[in-house]
Amino acid sequence: MEAITDFVSAIVLLLNFIVVPGLSYGSQLALGALGITLVFGILRFANFAHGDTMAFGTMMTILVTWWLQSKGINLGPLPTALLALPAGIAATILLLVVTDKTVYRYYRHSKAVPVTFMIASMGVMFMTNGIVRFVIGPNDQRFLDGERFIVSARNFKSMTGLSEGLSIKVSQGLTIVVAIVLVALLFWFLQKTRTGKAMRAYSDNEDLALLSGVDPDRVVLVTWIITAILATIAGTLYGLDKSFKPFTYLQLLLPMFAAAIVGGIGNPIGAIAGGYVIAFSEVMVTYAYKKVFVYLLPQSLEPQGLLQLLSTDYKFAVSFVILVLVLLVRPTGILRGKVL
């Protein structure tokens, strides 16, 4: 009997510290990587400003959330930020469309090489970053309200009688649900609608798409709009789950790029797969497995150390190593994207 309880406890431990955080972080990365991969597929450059686009969208959402909170409006158990999201998205769409009109369109029309776009995106990154810091400051901002847990560790323990607790935060549950809905919508859009098909065609073969009568400006506009939606939602979910700090969003750039490339850049399914691969690798490699083995192994074989492969400070290294491995072994990514 005790062996079974121990086994279940070990599973609960893994669920609590690996599966749930991995799923929610993976969903956030996937949504971010989708934005990067869409921009790459349609506009054909690696967008360094994407992290700051997320920060901008999140900031706008936070500002509206604060305003709503000050008016006493809330969503009960759910975070008020959900109510503020549409406003944040609208502002981000405006930002991206204005950036495209003032910056990228010129290079598109003069058929500039991708590197020029990349450098331009660095300029955009600077400017967006400056705006975000100017408006909301460089510090941590919390904007989570409503219930904190769907399942709290204490309730779980008293319900099951196990010694290990499983906790699922509202923000985590929300992240996973929203990501599923959003991805389903995106795929429906890309597979079934006329504009979505035009986008896929344009990404696949620009010249032939033009020969078929696809309007490039419209495709690009729609791409930025979708990117803004994905970026704002991904950023807000990340901010709800962890906290909002402009600098961390800049740092998300690397795992998001890694996710997009690992999955096969330009390939939306690849971006999602890549997001989860990166997130789970980070969580699994930096988790200390000692307790799991304490449950599973007889006392005599109990491990001495923490059984942690890498300290959590090296989580960037994980995405990077995966990135390098994929580049070496299979440059097109797991799901065959374009070769950059």
């Binding site: 910056v103 590197v115 990349m118 600077f126 400017m127 970053n129 400051g137 890694a258 400070d313 960037f316």
Partner: protein, 457 residues
């Protein structure tokens, strides 16, 4: 306007600005800015070699600069004898294990045929080898870090004069650049950019967390100096005499009672300016040497080949030039120059603080310098380094002043006014981005564009 005239004009403007800052703010501030301008110029030269000569997009400047900073610690700090004593045996075994792991995996890779078996064998060798290495390494680290953690807690350095670290920093950066280049240079520009972005984050993670090596976030302060200390100067006879002679006019009008305190103040001010001038001399020397070498290299057959490769990789490859190998060369050299600048910067700061390395400041700002100055043109990079650093530093007070001025009609305690003034410093990021975009769009060659030699000249 010819480039030479533009160069002269631009540098005159910068000199003028520095003089104005010297007169309005203080000479100390002005010289401080000048020193950082010189370091920025060296960094920009390094990036320009990679981007301007060869078209390689290095977004990991921060990492290489931080490696240079680390070298300053490793060269100048005195070795911590106890730490070595407590750990050398295990460290040696760990190093041997690590070397053996690498050797074994290379042998594995060479002997076995490509396929699942090789991948499996490689994975086993690497994981097993690393586990074994850590078995010896972890206790060694614990031993090192437990020795006087508040003061040392690391292995220390070589105890050499810090100026050697400038070369050492270049070598370390070159070594890491070789590793990255081997992996990422065969791929296209976008991948190299992302790969370098990643490696710089990893370098920073290592520097922040490997306390046995760099004390991590506990920082290493009080690094030795290649120039005299102010406090020593202030008690040195020749220096006091020199200051007395320099300020003899001002001192002459004072009466006897007023003279000693006035002289003391002059000596204090003068010592700080003198120290800064010493740094200026050293940095300017390094800059001139690197600049001369790169101008020479750029105009040599090697430099022409580099540009030929940059302008048409496929054609150059078809002509039998080993493009990847050349790229590796220039990537290593450029990174080494950035490493040198990083070591110089830490030397100037007198301390190594890993948390001070921020990508916006150390990677992207350098890029703005190169693009604005003129990619492919060495003088342009130097100019970009000077100009952008000046703007970067002065944008803060000017921004605050502008905000205060612009919101003057609001009440002192107005929330918006306070917010605007407090956050004005962040607008310089916005401003830098704007400058980058404007130059890229309307003057893609930068202020001093690359000189394209006509055929036959």
């Amino acid at each position: 306007m010819s480039n030479t005239l533009k160069t002269q004009l631009a540098f005159s403007v910068i000199a003028l600005l520095l003089i104005i800052i010297g007169l309005v703010q203080s000479w100390n501030v002005s010289l401080g800015i000048l020193n950082l301008c010189l370091i920025s110029a060296v960094m920009a030269l390094g990036v320009n070699m990679q981007w301007g000569y060869a078209g390689l997009l290095n977004v990991g400047v921060m990492g290489f600069a931080a490696l240079g900073g680390m070298s300053a610690v490793l060269v100048s700090q005195a070795p911590v004898a106890e730490a070595w004593q407590a750990s050398w045996g295990r460290l040696l075994i760990a190093a041997l294990c690590f070397a053996a792991t690498i050797a074994a995996s290379i042998i594995c890779y060479r002997i076995l045929a490509a396929g699942r078996n090789r991948n499996l064998a490689l994975a086993l060798v690497i994981i097993g080898g690393l586990a074994l290495t850590r078995f010896f390494f972890d206790p060694a680290v614990t031993a090192i870090e437990s020795i006087e953690p508040a003061k040392t807690g690391f292995l220390g350095g070589m105890g050499l004069p810090i100026i050697f670290s400038w070369g050492f920093g270049g070598i370390v950066a070159a070594g890491i650049a070789w590793c990255i280049g081997k992996v990422a240079l065969g791929l296209r520009a976008d991948y190299l950019a992302i790969a370098t972005l990643g490696i710089s984050e990893i370098i920073l993670a290592v520097l922040k967390n490997e306390d046995w090596l760099t004390r991590g976030v506990k920082n290493v302060t009080g690094l030795s100096r290649p120039v005299p200390y102010e406090i020593d100067l202030q008690t040195t006879t020749w220096f006091i005499d020199f200051i007395r002679w320099w300020h003899s006019g001002a001192l002459g009008v004072l009466n006897e009672a007023e003279q000693p305190p006035a002289l003391k103040q002059f000596v204090i001010d003068g010592s700080s300016i003198f120290v800064k001038l010493c740094y200026t001399g050293l940095f300017a020397g390094v800059l001139v040497v690197i600049l001369l070498l790169s101008v020479k290299a750029l105009n040599s057959p090697w430099g022409r080949m580099m540009r030929a490769i940059r302008d048409n990789e496929i054609a150059a490859g078809a002509m039998g030039k080993d493009v990847t190998r050349r790229h590796l060369q220039i990537f290593i050299i450029g990174s080494a120059v950035i490493g040198v600048a990083g070591a110089m910067l830490t030397t100037l700061d007198g301390q190594f603080t890993p948390t001070s390395y921020q990508p916006l400041r150390f990677t992207f700002l350098i890029w703005v310098m190169v693009i604005v100055g003129g990619s492919g043109n060495n003088m342009g990079s130097v100019l970009g380094g000077f100009l952008i650093w000046l703007v970067w530093i002065e944008a803060e007070p000017i921004g605050v002043w502008l905000m205060a001025f612009g919101t003057g009609w609001l009440d002192e305690s107005n929330v918006i006014r306070i917010h605007l003034i407090e956050n004005a410093q962040h607008m310089r990021l916005f401003f830098m981005g704007l400058v980058l975009l404007l130059v890229l769009r309307f003057s893609p060659g930068g202020i001093l564009p690359e000189v394209v030699r006509k055929q036959g000249s």
